[in-house]
Amino acid sequence: YTSIGMNLSILCYFKYRGFFLNELYDGMRLLNMDPGYTKVNPLEVFIPFGISFYTFEAISYAVDVYKRKIAPETSLPRFLLFILFFPHLVAGPIVRAGDFLTQTRRPKRWNWVRVQVGVQLFLVGAFKKMAIADRMALFCDPVFKDPDAYNSVAVWFAVLAYALRIYCDFSGYSDMAVGAAHLLGYKLINNFNMPYLATNVSDFWRRWHISLSSWLRDYVFIPLGGSRGSRWLNYRNLLITMTLGGLWHGAAWGYILWGLAHGALLVGHKQFKDYCDGKPRLTAFLETAFGTGLRILVTFFCVSMCWVLFQPELGKAVAIFEKLFHLQRGLTVPLSNRSLWYTVAFLFACQWLVRSGVWAKIYPRVPAPVLGVGYAVCLCAALVLAPDSGTTFIYFQF
């Protein structure tokens, strides 16, 4: 508990101090009380890079050692390597000590197959970040910055673009991190598994930011009681876990509400699942191709609506929702939407290739030079398609 307390204290001091002090300040002013201090300027708060990630790794290490799942690490350099390993330092994946520390003890040898896997992952990640995420930012950033100026159609496009952006930005970074780790002889957990093909919100969280969702499951949800106990206890645990997950992302009400919304969706899914249990015809329909497609679309829609909350300014989120559900005039989309639809089609085609197993069948038969040309095309395409003004990784801010 001491170790967990210390780690959380450091995280709270750097990341949440300003938020809580400002909320306390506003609350006291509302009650006509003198807070006795001035508000903290969020821009002046120094937050060490990646603190959210390595704090969770340190906590997981302490808990796993306490529960005797792993032996305590006696070598300080190895422990520091676990915490500060640069590919995953800034934005994950959140690595478990048991997985990583065993790898540090294995001798590393040059391995071309490993290099190939690393290069492939790195290139795919770079393509996702430069050619897709940064281009989607051209659609969504101007609209999210000033939603009142744009019409409802532009805002809908911006929401779609943001969903693609955040996926490609974060999964692109994760792929690059995993690829870089492979080049150095380390295998990190894959953080994404085609989350937008999830058929329900539960499935989504088994595919999105897998290292975080599994961490929350193992160190928050299960200790709270998990799915054991009554239905209401289960719901409570889900809501608390997801709200904390939202708070982990950022010290702002938008992120907290985002987490809470996902918690509510998970609760809703559980209730719907219980409802379907007594309805075999409905269950059979939902298992058909059409039913599966419908479930994927509904899940994607719900997740995209939650992304609107995923920002520090709650007022902007409210303005965006107003535009989405109350048709209003304004400026049109900042760019031609052909580029957006090409991107959607391309991503969908790639994910279908992998999910259907076609890629797994084709890959071993592709001649090596053709693979090499494919890598070159991927790299050159990423370099050419990156827009003029690149943006930093979204998850760096967490």
Binding site: V113, A149, P334, P369, G372, L379
Partner: protein
């Protein structure tokens, strides 16, 4: 009893399988590196053969048109009087240079040829760069009409507003210092160094997409001129439905939002204007300054007293160089202006006719400059 032959495939030792996989992986990675490097170097070589086509398509496309135009012909006896227009998209849409040439030829009784060398987003510094390039390239017009855009004169906006469009990549390495002296802060782009050879595909990416895959271009506007531009460099804006005008006005108000509050003309943009005028003087070219039409609502957006200072400021500069000023801001009705400051096709026709009749003909006739191009 039936016998069945059992054939067992020979087991490939795992070290051989590992070896094959390693070889395949090595070939794939090394081949990929070689192809990627070769592609970038190839693109770099292609760009260096025609740098302006990729780096500054706006200038390049207009220059190509000018090559085939009488105004671009060498200054020889017998050449028609060459009149060049410099400016931004305001002039691009407003001055029908072909009609200017025809009317002046008829009114002055001597052959006159006009070319519209206006470029979208061109402010005083961009015009200064373009004029110097043309002169260095052997293009010497007899007279130049220089647009003065009050938006680009907004002194309260730093850096100058035209910085938004004057990307350093458009400039030649030897132009960077001059542009900085004229008040536009530019850093040398990576493309001017080793990145232009090794990572050319990345450095010129927007221009490559614009040229070869415009559907994927990340810009909301075209970098070069389109097929709609005629051989005299003019583009006719299609008529705008009435219901769309308020949207376009609102868009422009938003685009130039930094210019309205506290508007005061002056600042580093004047250096660019002065440079253009000095270049004209040094080359023996007659200059004139032109303020193009703006709609009623658009004119009201400039804050007072700054708005009223534009005419005296421009007049003072013009007098120093003996250049006439054509203040056409209130010439046209709002129905002939598409979005507050770009003219419709009908607006361009009306504007061009009045410009020639009321300003250019008297100027060129009265200054005695028109006698086969001899001053």
């Amino acid at each position: 009893m039936r016998t069945v032959a059992v054939v067992t495939a020979p087991v490939v030792p795992s070290r051989i399988v590992r070896g094959r996989r390693a070889r395949r992986a090595a070939v794939a990675v090394l081949f990929g590196v070689a192809v990627a490097a070769g592609t970038q170097l190839g693109i770099g070589a292609a760009v260096r053969r025609a740098p302006e086509a990729f780096a500054d398509p706006l200038y390049h496309d207009k220059r190509e048109l000018l090559r085939a135009h009488p105004v671009g012909a060498p200054d020889r006896p017998g050449r028609p009087f060459a009149l060049l227009f410099l400016g931004s998209s305001r002039t691009y849409d407003a001055v029908n240079a072909g009609a200017v040439g025809e009317r002046l030829t008829r009114d002055l009784g001597t052959p006159v040829s006009a070319f519209n060398f206006a470029q979208s987003g061109a402010g005083p510094v961009t015009m200064a760069v373009a004029l110097r390039r043309l002169l260095n390239d052997g293009v010497k017009p007899d007279a130049v009409v220089i647009e003065v855009n009050p938006l680009f004169l907004a002194a309260q906006v730093e850096p100058p507003f035209e910085t938004r469009w004057l990307h350093p990549l458009r400039l030649r390495p030897d132009e960077l210092e001059r542009v900085r002296e004229l008040g536009v802060p530019v850093d040398a782009p990576g493309a001017h160094g080793w990145r232009g050879r090794v990572l050319a595909g990345h450095e010129y990416r927007v221009h490559l997409l614009e040229r070869y895959a415009p559907a994927l271009s990340p810009l909301p506007y075209r970098l070069g001129i389109g097929p709609e531009t005629d051989r005299h460099g003019f583009v006719r804006v299609p008529e705008i439905p009435e219901r769309q005008r308020p949207k376009l006005l609102a868009w422009n108000r938003n685009l130039y939002a930094a210019c309205w509050p506290g508007y005061r003309p002056g600042g580093s943009a004047l250096k660019g204007l002065r440079d253009v005028l000095e270049t004209c003087r040094a080359a023996g070219i007659r200059p004139a300054l032109l303020l193009t039409p703006e709609s009623t609502e658009f004119r009201c957006w400039y804050a007072e007293p700054g708005r009223a200072l534009v005419a005296p400021l421009v007049g003072e500069l013009a007098r120093a160089f003996g250049a006439p000023v054509v203040d056409a801001r209130e010439w046209l009705g709002d129905d002939l202006i598409a979005d507050g400051h770009h003219l419709t096709g009908a607006g361009a026709d009306a504007f061009t006719a009045r410009l020639v009749r009321d300003e250019l003909t008297p100027w060129l006739r009265g200054s005695g400059t028109v006698a086969g191009g001899e001053p």
